[in-house]
């Protein structure tokens, strides 16, 4: 399906990814996996059956979110996942992931002699990109 250029100028390359399972990386570091249902020129995305996947070492853990609209300015990248590929990562539960992350950050802090744990996510400042 080819739409003429004036339509969706900013995200036309995502049209091929509709109804495909994508991993979307957000500016705050979150990774969302879901089926791409809809897009617009700002790369705002509608994702279905969304799972938020947290990674730590060789493990990952999922949180289900359902149906989401993501504002385009928060999107870093959207990639089609090759499900046949074995990533070598093991799934663990949410509780195990929290404990693993706490252990990692405590270990990290002890190494670097910090008074308290650093926050896991960094928010990026808003940029003036939407006014092109």
């Amino acid at each position: 399906m080819e739409l003429p250029d004036p339509y969706l100028p900013g995200a036309i390359s995502l049209l091929d990814q509709l109804d495909k399972k994508l991993i979307v990386v957000l500016r705050d570091g979150r990774k969302l996996i879901g089926y791409l249902r809809s897009i617009d020129q700002f790369a705002n995305l509608i994702l279905d059956e969304v799972v938020e996947r947290t990674f730590c070492d060789k493990f990952y853990s999922d949180i289900r979110h359902g149906f989401l609209l993501i504002r385009g300015e928060n999107v870093v990248l959207a990639g089609e996942i090759d499900e046949t590929l074995d990533t070598g990562l093991k799934e663990i539960t949410g509780n195990e992931m929290t404990m693993l992350q706490e252990e990692r950050s405590r270990h990290h802090n002890r190494k670097h002699d910090l008074p308290k744990a650093e926050p896991q996510r960094k928010t990026k400042h808003a940029d003036m990109d939407d006014a092109y």
Partner: protein
């Protein structure tokens, strides 16, 4: 529009895109748009251990606003041409750029 045209001339070439979140993606430039959003095919993350979530990603849509650098092979770029095009200033149209490239 100048760099849009420039990237369009690089479609099919291998590039490394460094993002503002420090991820480096190696891949073939498949398409680009006016916001310099890019589509990379056969994507590989340069540092797989730090970014395990990208191991299974083959094709990536990258939003233009998150790109820090695009690393290009030197022999693919005619810097003289690029400098000339820039000097002719921003009203340059895509047709002009393509004419310069072709001749």
């Amino acid at each position: 529009m100048l760099f849009y045209s420039f990237f369009k001339s690089l479609v099919g070439k291998e590039v490394v895109v460094e993002l503002k979140n420090d991820v480096c993606l190696h891949g073939t430039l498949h398409s680009v748009d006016q916001y310099l959003n890019m589509n990379l095919h056969e994507t590989q993350v340069t540092d797989q251990d730090r970014f395990p979530h990208l191991i299974a990603v083959k094709n990536a849509f990258i939003r233009g606003s998150v790109v820090r650098y695009v690393q290009l092979p030197e022999d693919q770029v005619d810097t003289g041409l690029l400098a000339d095009a820039s000097r002719k200033s921003w009203p340059i149209t895509e047709i002009d750029f393509l004419n310069i490239v072709m001749l």
